[in-house]
Symmetry: C2
């Protein structure tokens, strides 16, 4: 075992309770999304609220904080032990930053704002949500003040979701994308080689049959269904872990446009694999589990884009489709490949393809930055949104619902989350490039159904470290360089042009 | 709201955390039985252990205990408030009775004993379990000493499962059953009117089709599937509640002998209805939920035996069977009725019919009483078991697995639980008799699919009181008399002779 220091042992002993509450809250959350009867919501929310307060109190308990501070003073800790101290100090800092009345205000405001957002979106009436958005932006700015920052208030919010990420980091990433990816997108759209739409988008399928396809695909990847994992169905697919030996994904079935279902499943498998390949020695400790949203997304996007959107995967999937959904199996692997890789500017982020997706994030990043760093009124946001959409994707929302009201994130009070999607996308391709230096062509392994070297590489470079290192350091240690958008730009150029 | 006293309000404010942990533990337990991947067990057990210790600590927290003691001194509390104090004082007493090293010993012993029991049962080798059973009996006797008792140590164990139940109570019940029910059973078996077996026991069915039958039946009873409840599948059917608006049952599908599946479902529906018809004002308090195992079992047995084994139910179910499982629908309602009501001495308790079931419990009661009150060695138990089986049911186990090793209960350390099964069975018929005085023939209501008066009666006489009154008092208040086995004896006589 990696933990020899007595203070660390004492910390871990106490930490088990926090872990147990986290475990329970995760199960409660999972059940709420997949199986809970409708009216169970009120009692469930009360239970989750109480558990969250308990966990908070345990974390900020003076004896516990003192132990963590004591451990932070040691200079002979192992890497793992230092990781524990870093993660706990960060959690304690974030948790203790906000005064209780502010936490209550956030909770009440986001709850009401979410209802208002739903109504506004349903009725396409922005005025119902705008006053709440003003409040939420104000809350975001005050949160940043409580958390503290060096350069921009938005840095404090970015850091909450991706440790160490700054406005300047994201700025630099997106300026490259805007300068180099935008011309590539324009070229793709001006040529006829890449399809903009495909008849398979309309083709209806049987949910039961498609669930067999999904199951067969993830089993082929090595997903230990029944042993250490499950697949369920929910409106918005997600991955959750209750420990290293119980990692669950969900997927969705719209009944048409089957790539959504398959790619969601493959995406969530990527998240799940990150958790399944954790070091079991870290069980019950703060360093078990993926380190950040961006790194997590790099794993899901790796499987979704690098594997799931490859020609070799289309070939591998073809007989599975043929068996369970013969009407889809009539399309050739090449046709399915292009169907998985259409490029078409769309108003809706969640339906966007690999190339345009990042511009959806860029629109949101530009707006969030102004929201927090510069201060802007909600009333001025729709125009800004529409301008940016037009500039980057050449299309303009006809309704608020398709534009500024599209995402639930801001109503939930999450400002600073969106950039992690692009970080994950860019990093996934960068990792793939380094992986190929070590194990050869990924496509060849996919063709041979030989996923082991791929999974081993991910395990040894990323997964097994859990949360020992902060995300930027993890990337540097694993591949010897920082996040670099060039890899993704090259990938798009080579794939489409 | 029923709670005006400020001390009670303060107690309830603190109690919410205990409630939340109970809620979470219940969800964790449910998931473990129905959906958890196999290897999730280790981390799940650790989480449950930590939660259980936390809940214990909250209950025994000096400030909380002091508040409860303070409230116990008031003489102007409402019935509900008095109920809260009674339940909490009882929980605190039981929780504080056992020293921590004893709790640890129990947990370790039962965990190892359960493994030993499984092996012993699989190999039909009693010697593998006997030493553990000696330890478990010793633990039971020491538990009784810690809890305290007036007359017999076994009283202390009975009271844990059924508040206020004593050895003398159970003795008196069973002596009536032995004296009066035994001759009736002998007479049933000597005549040809009641079938001892039925071809439907062997008939195979499709699980999917039978699940539709079960769902249609409980929907007909008014089970709010999707709104406030669910049905899932598990090896051993059970009911669980996560609050008044989320009550879930499970059922089983062996693939043959369909009455097992249907009657299990109807049985669990009875448990669930008790929880669904709680007074929502008691939400988050210690008095929400069924008061005891015996009363709970009276509700499940009411639906299983009084409703589910009636001719009117067979008639009502007939078209449902015909629709989903036509090969069963070919049997007439009369044939199905008798299939549901066969009487046949069997070695296995869980497969026993309404009449012989109680003798299975009697065997266990006689043995448990000697285990705890008189002290006996495990090596002498198989003979005792076999003698009693022969005497009461006229059959003798050919293996330990069919005899002394049959149930998991003792391996879990639960001694004193079995009698609640018979209490529930007897009470269910007694309640039915009183119900008919108020609403007329139950069979008529069943025939007309008019379950509302039945459910309303149960709600107003039993359910809505939650745990305000201890079980004996609840029964006296509801029907003006004590538990009386005569009702059941009369029911069997009229039904079968």
């Amino acid at each position: 075992m990696a933990f020899e220091n007595l203070t660390i042992k004492e910390i871990l002993e106490k930490y088990r309770r926090i872990w147990a509450i986290h475990h329970a809250s995760s199960v409660l959350g999972w059940d709420m999304e997949v199986y809970m009867p409708k009216q169970g919501i009120m009692e469930r929310s009360v239970a989750e609220g109480e558990l969250s307060v308990m966990s908070q109190e345990l974390l900020l308990e003076p004896d516990f904080v003192a132990l963590v501070d004591k451990a932070a003073g040691f200079d002979n800790l192992s890497e793992e032990e230092n990781g524990i101290v870093r993660v706990l100090k960060r959690d304690i800092k974030i948790s203790s930053s906000f005064p209780p009345e502010f936490v209550r205000e956030v909770s009440e405001t986001t709850s009401k704002a979410t209802s208002a957002w739903k109504e506004a979106k349903d009725k396409d009436d922005y005025s119902k949500f705008a006053p709440w958005l003003d409040k939420l932006m104000d809350i975001g700015r005050r949160a940043a003040d409580y958390l503290g920052y060096e350069k921009y208030p938005y840095d404090a919010l970015l850091d909450m979701f991706e440790e160490g990420l700054t406005t300047d980091d994201v700025e630099s990433i997106f300026s490259k994308l805007e300068n180099e990816l935008k011309p590539i997108l324009d070229k793709i759209l001006s040529e006829d080689k890449v399809p903009k739409e495909h008849p398979l988008e309309k083709l209806k399928y049987d949910t039961k049959a498609m669930s067999r396809v999904n199951e067969e695909i993830v089993r082929m990847f090595g997903f230990p269904i029944g042993e250490r994992s499950r697949i369920d169905v929910s409106a918005h697919p997600f991955t959750t872990e209750f420990g290293v030996n119980d990692v669950r994904i969900t997927t969705r079935y719209e009944g048409f446009d089957f790539k959504r279902s398959v790619l969601s499943t493959v995406h969530e498998f990527g998240h799940a694999l990150y958790e399944l390949q954790q070091n079991p020695d870290f069980m019950f400790t703060p360093i078990i589990g993926g380190v950040s949203l961006g790194i997590h997304e790099s794993q899901s996007r790796f499987w979704e884009n690098v594997i799931g959107r490859s020609i070799e995967f289309a070939e591998l999937m073809h007989p599975i489709l043929k068996k369970h959904v013969p009407e889809i199996g009539e399309y050739s692997p090449e046709e399915i490949y292009w169907y998985f890789n259409t490029v078409r500017p769309d108003l809706i982020r969640t339906e966007a393809d690999v190339v345009t997706y990042n511009f959806h994030i860029l629109v949101r990043f530009k707006i969030e930055k102004i929201m927090i760093n510069e201060g802007i009124k909600a009333k001025d946001l729709p125009e800004l949104w529409n301008e940016e959409m037009e500039k980057l994707l050449g299309i303009k929302p006809k309704s608020y619902a398709d534009g500024i009201l599209q995402d639930i994130h801001w109503a939930h009070g999450t400002i600073g989350y969106f950039p992690t999607y692009t970080i994950g996308t860019l990093l996934s391709v960068q990792l793939a490039s380094h992986m190929e230096k070590d194990i050869g062509k990924i496509g060849e392994h996919v063709r041979n159904q030989d996923f082991k070297p791929i999974k081993e590489w991910l395990k040894n470079k990323i997964h097994k470290y859990g949360s020992i290192y902060p995300p930027k350091e993890l990337v540097r240690r694993s591949i010897g360089e920082n996040l670099e958008p060039e890899y993704f730009i090259k990938y798009v150029r080579e794939k489409y042009l």
